[in-house]
């Protein structure tokens, strides 16, 4: 039998028992809708979670340190012993930048210094001064920024944390670790104002005793007396720490630390990375490297941002093979992926239950149709229909109900998702929480739901179709 005859015959059968078939199709539709709704909730939640985590900079970040350098994170995975340890210098940084899937490489750069408001001569705050690369603009911390991001990578501007803003304004401190959002009035007192940062610049110098030139308060003096002999021997590496001060305009106030990543401790003030590098600021914890002979400037740690979070493992591995130590939170991200796989599976099973019930509806409808069309099947066989022809007609009817039910269900599931999303966001907005799209219906899910619906329907059609095909025409045509 040709395809169009099959379609016509199956189509007319579907129309003949229109109400019953419509109800069966509706049943499949509801089943598919519940599946789509459940899975799109799972997908939406996963997207939301990975988006949040992704923007936190944890999952696409590899921290690179030189092997044998104890300044780096303690938990870094050491390079394989076979690889030769290399200095973490500009050559290495450039090398990482050239690697596939690497979006950005920047130093984990932070200095210490005294920070005060320009107008407040007495309110000095000794604190860590961090830096932000231009890419930090997309960090979730800037979702509710008061003011703006840096106007350029070298602008003499600063972004501060809300609770540091309170410090600057001499307001009582909130408990540590809580995100502080300033009131618009408080923010107005800070935005556009200037802060003065006093820091130390590293300058190449004569073979002068290191400790003698350092005036920085609070930094422990190196007590290794022998080191002065070493420095005398290597004049080229000697340098001076020169106190400097810098005026920065406050352009933005954030409530949580942007690009927090693996940064340790609290960093309440940020300036543009390129600016900080150009200033040769002495970094926090750099004392160690100042005592270590090296021909070139080396980094304490480099942050490698990977374009695709799936490529993190590969990038990390490649860097380790080059002789550096690395750290990433990949294992944690694997755990999260596993959790969502289970969640999706669980939601999928729940959603499929309705579809399973609906598929029983198909079996029921078609078995009824066989009883009803018993004589007709007999006639068709007497007129030359093969068992296969009869089977295909019933199969096609099941498949058609699957396609229509699937389309109906995908549409219905999408609508349910929209409505619930809409309603929940109204609720979230009332609670002053940013609305989120946690109900996502991707195209592949619609296609998969359609395909699955057809598959389930065909499977449900197997038994009725083969039963119809086996029907004995002599029995069916017996006139009684």
């Amino acid at each position: 039998m040709r395809a169009y005859d099959l379609i016509e015959l199956a189509g007319r059968n579907l129309r003949e028992a229109g109400l019953r078939n419509s109800l069966t199709t509706l049943g499949i539709g509801v089943g598919v809708a519940s599946l789509v709704a459940m899975l799109s909730l799972g997908i939406g939640l996963q997207k939301l979670a990975t988006k949040q985590l992704g923007r936190s900079g944890l999952f696409d970040t590899v921290v690179v340190t030189a092997r044998g350098d104890s300044r780096g994170p303690r938990f870094a995975q050491a390079a394989p012993v076979t690889a030769q340890a290399k200095p973490l210098d500009d050559a290495a940084r450039h090398n990482f930048e050239q690697m596939a899937n690497v979006a950005e490489v920047y130093p984990n750069f932070s200095a210490v210094g005294d920070v005060r408001l320009e107008t407040d001569k007495t309110g000095n705050h000794f604190t860590v001064v961090g830096t932000l690369p231009q890419s930090a603009r997309t960090s979730e911390a800037f979702d509710d920024v008061q003011g703006s991001f840096f106007s350029s990578g070298i602008a003499e501007e600063a972004i501060i944390l809300g609770d540091f803003g309170r410090d600057l304004l001499n307001l009582p401190r909130e408990p540590r670790g809580t995100d502080v959002k300033l009131t618009p009035e408080q923010a107005d007192q800070l935005l556009g104002k200037y802060i003065v940062v006093r820091y130390h610049k590293r300058e190449a110098g004569e073979s002068a005793p290191l400790a003698g030139k350092t005036t920085k308060k609070g930094q422990p003096d190196p007590d290794d007396v022998d080191s002065s002999d070493g420095i005398k021997a290597e004049d080229a590496q000697s340098f001076n720490l020169v106190p400097k001060q810098l005026k920065l305009k406050i352009v933005g106030i954030v409530s949580s630390e942007p690009n927090r990543g693996f940064r340790q401790g609290r960093t309440p003030v940020f300036l543009p990375l390129a600016l900080a590098e150009s200033l040769d600021m002495v970094q926090a914890g750099e004392l160690w490297s100042t005592l270590r002979p090296s021909d070139t400037k080396t980094y304490v740690a480099l942050i490698v941002r990977v374009g695709r979070s799936k490529a993190v493992a590969q990038v990390e591995d490649d860097i380790r093979k080059q002789g550096f130590s690395t750290f990433s939170i990949l294992d944690a991200s694997k755990g999260i992926t596993r959790f969502f796989t289970f969640l999706d599976l669980f939601l999928g099973i729940f959603g499929s239950l309705a579809l399973a019930v609906a598929s029983l509806g198909i079996v029921n409808t078609l078995v009824m149709a066989i009883l009803e069309r018993r004589r007709e099947i007999g006639i068709m066989k007497a007129l030359g229909a093969s068992d296969g022809d009869v089977k295909r007609i019933f199969f096609f009817e099941a498949g058609s109900m699957g396609i229509m039910g699937g389309a109906l269900g995908a549409g219905l599931g999408w609508t349910i998702g929209r409505v619930i999303n809409f309603a929940t966001n109204i609720y979230l907005q009332r609670q002053d929480i940013k609305p989120e799209n946690f109900w996502v219906v991707p195209v592949w899910l619609v296609a998969a739901a359609l395909g699955f619906s057809v598959f389930v329907s065909m499977f449900a059609g197997l038994y009725p179709a083969s039963r119809a095909a086996r029907l004995d025409p002599v029995q069916a045509l017996r006139h009684d």
């Binding site: 039998m1 040709r2 169009y4 005859d5 016509e8 015959l9 007319r12 003949e16 004589r375 007709e376 007999g378 006639i379 068709m380 066989k381 007497a382 007129l383 030359g384 229909a385 093969s386 068992d387 296969g388 022809d389 025409p473 002599v474 045509l477 006139h479």
Partner: protein, 244 residues
């Protein structure tokens, strides 16, 4: 009209046996029937109900399979065919009409006649011409869009005949074709069958229990009793019919 010789032979059954199980006992519906029909012959199968005549017809139609014996139609043995081959055989070689007409009630007359051509994969363009031709032959070309329920019994049986002709079969099998009709329309149908038998040279095998009808139209009368062939007579009266 020849009744012997294979090249003129349309149907030959050789010791065909078909029995049904009823509980533990086997009921022989057809019990060793050997019968031959020449091309273009009109044979009437006569017998009381339960004599096995309908079972024999279903066996020849390829709707049923014999338990033993052979049924050779147009040179091929139905007993050795696969079910797909049997379907092919029913599609192309046999046309059937029944006592209860067996038109599909939800289809129009046109669609009913077209139905066997769907299974035979006749091209769409050709179908219309064939439907019209078949309906003209039975005198129903003005009723194409009517459903069976809108037609009289005689018209329905004529429609069934048109459907049986659709794939231009060599063999027409009729199971009590006049059983549900009054005698006048019954006669009309029989006239039509005889006309098809003569003009299209179709072999006709008809099951009936009305002996007068058989004597009036068939070349040969075959009598069945308890599944066995119990008698046969070449119909002399039929020759009068020819002359008429």
């Amino acid at each position: 009209m020849a009744t012997n010789g294979t090249e003129f032979e349309s149907v030959r059954t050789v010791s065909v046996v078909r029995h049904y199980k009823l509980g533990r006992t086997l009921i022989p519906a057809v019990d060793g029937v050997s019968l031959a029909a020449g091309r273009g012959e009109f044979i009437a199968l006569l017998g009381a109900s339960g004599s096995g005549k309908s079972t024999l017809l279903n066996l020849i139609a390829g709707l049923d399979r014999p338990d033993s014996g052979a049924i050779v139609v147009e040179g091929s043995d139905l007993a050795t065919m696969t079910s797909e081959q049997l379907a092919q055989y029913r599609r192309h070689t046999v046309g059937m009409v029944f006592q209860s007409f067996n038109l599909v009630p939800t289809m129009t007359l046109y669609e009913n006649v077209e139905l066997p051509m769907r299974f035979a994969e006749v091209k769409r363009k050709e179908r219309r011409a064939r439907v019209v031709e078949a309906l003209e032959r039975v005198g129903l070309s003005d009723r194409m869009k009517h459903r069976p329920s809108e037609m009289s019994g005689g018209e329905q049986q004529r429609a069934a005949l048109a459907r049986a002709l659709a794939n231009r079969p060599k063999l027409l099998l009729a199971d009590e074709p006049t059983g549900n009709l009054d005698s006048k329309t019954g006669t009309e149908i029989m006239d039509l069958i005889r006309e098809l038998n003569r003009t299209l040279e179709m072999t006709v095998i008809m099951v009936t229990h009305e002996r007068p009808l058989a004597e009036r139209y068939a070349n040969r009368l075959v009598f069945l009793g308890d599944g066995k062939l119990v008698g046969e007579s070449v119909n002399e009266l039929e020759k009068i019919g020819v002359a008429r």
